[in-house]
Amino acid sequence: MSAAGADPVLRVSIDSKWYRSRGAEPVEAVRDLAFGVEAGEIVCLIGPSGAGKTTSLRILLGLDTDYTGQVSGAEQAGMVFQEPRLLPWRSVEHNIRLGLPRARRGRDLDGLFGRLGLAPWRASYPKALSLGMQRRVALARALADDPRVLVLDEPFVSLDDAAAAELRGLVVDTVDGAGMSVLMVTHNVAEAIGIADRLLLLSRRPASLVADVPLDRERGARDRAWAEATRATLAALYPEIIAV
């Protein structure tokens, strides 16, 4: 699937990224990391914690410009951070509308509220919601302007299994319905095997691409046995990154 579409929606090519802080040894966080995300594709970025995954996302989104290399496509991305990062002093609806540029902020979002089950909470403040619901609000904010690609940083972490599965289902349904792409950072290998079209495996610091693994089976046809077999194969090939 990686060979689909001519123009990737997102393109990342980071030659190197160093963290230099006074009084500490400089640390190289990323080296020679290059990949693209094609239209309609779900790509998961997997690597050990502290490997530079979040750093790469920040560079991709233009939040960190102190690196060498090139990135493109951030302007058509909707971002979901690891913490919901909602404005606690604004209502759920206001928070979601802030995902739109000012000119379009008044548009009709009833469909989005309905799809994500947020309609009853429109007027609530984020603090009144559970973490799972807050994540949904953050997801709705990312989806508000119909982005071509959704960028997710560990979006299901610290949710219970049921809430994580529900939110995961919402993401997959939404992007499949809209032909949206997804770039998701995760350390949950099972989760990635469950939904990704392609896995990008990153090394320890400095992060670079170890493997680009397409998962060809239809998402609906992925059963437990297939997932376990896939995981075992990957664990044998890349024991550094994927534990058995």
Binding site: E83, W89, R102
Partner: protein
């Protein structure tokens, strides 16, 4: 229960005052009723309303100017390291100059005018506001700033939805402490160089006849007005800006 305790404590205070006045039996420690009589007389003459009104207007104008400039300065100091390094020392100097010195110098350099009086109060209060708001501007949540950048918030949206709500608690704190500071300084400024206002009146009764009933009467009335503003306006404002918690 809270209100009852408050009233009880007030009654005890007035009773103690009454007892002390009886014991002293002196014009220099008038009883509560004597003070009340003065307030009524002064109100009937019209002087009370005039002086309190004039002082209130001075407090309002100088408070408003000091808040606007102080908030702007505080945000600049909190957001820009260069501004902070440049202005920190002058601010420290101003913060530690006695109110009396600032007032005298303002009258000497600007003249015995209304503008000098307002300037003196503003200069006295501005550093406090700036320092409190600077603290707020330093404590802005970097995660929310990053979110705002990822979503390409325009400047207006950023200011209205991200910056101002985070500064509000600091601004409310600054205005509550600032208001009581402002009115105390206004009285000094009036005493030194204005022909009307509560500060002038207190000085007049002091120099003229050491009329303690007048001095206590004026200060009680003005105190009541300021506490009223704090309770009716500022405390409600504070509750309003904290409603989402």
């Amino acid at each position: 229960m809270g209100a009852l305790t408050r009233i009880a404590s007030l009654l005890v205070l007035v009773a103690a005052w009454q007892a002390a006045a009886l014991e002293a039996g002196s014009r220099l420690l008038p009883a509560p009723m004597a003070v009340l009589r003065f307030i009524i007389q002064e109100a009937e003459r019209g002087d009370l309303i005039h002086n309190v009104g004039v002082t209130l207007l001075r407090v309002a104008i100088s408070f408003g100017i000091a808040m606007v400039l102080g908030v702007a300065l505080g945000v600049a100091l909190g957001r820009s390291k260069a501004a902070d390094l440049t202005l920190d020392t002058p601010l420290l100097v101003l913060l530690n100059t006695p109110a009396l010195v600032i007032t005298v110098l303002a009258y000497v350099w600007v003249g015995l005018t209304e503008a000098a009086a307002i300037l003196a109060v503003v200069l006295n209060k501005l550093p406090n506001v700036a320092v409190i708001v600077r603290e707020g501007a330093r404590n802005l949540d970097p995660q929310l700033d990053e979110m705002a950048r990822a979503y390409r918030f325009d400047r207006l949206t950023w200011a209205r939805d991200v910056l101002i709500p985070q500064l509000q608690p600091y601004v409310v704190t600054a205005s509550r402490s600032g208001l009581s500071l402002a009115w105390k300084i206004v009285l000094v400024v009036e005493l030194l160089g204005r022909p009307d206002g509560v500060g002038f009146a207190i000085n007049y009764y002091f120099v003229q006849s050491t009329d303690v009933a007048a001095i206590i009467g004026y200060s009680l009335v003005f105190m009541a007005v300021m506490i009223g503003i704090d309770v009716l306006l500022l405390q409600r404002l504070e509750a309003h800006v904290r409603r989402w918690r």
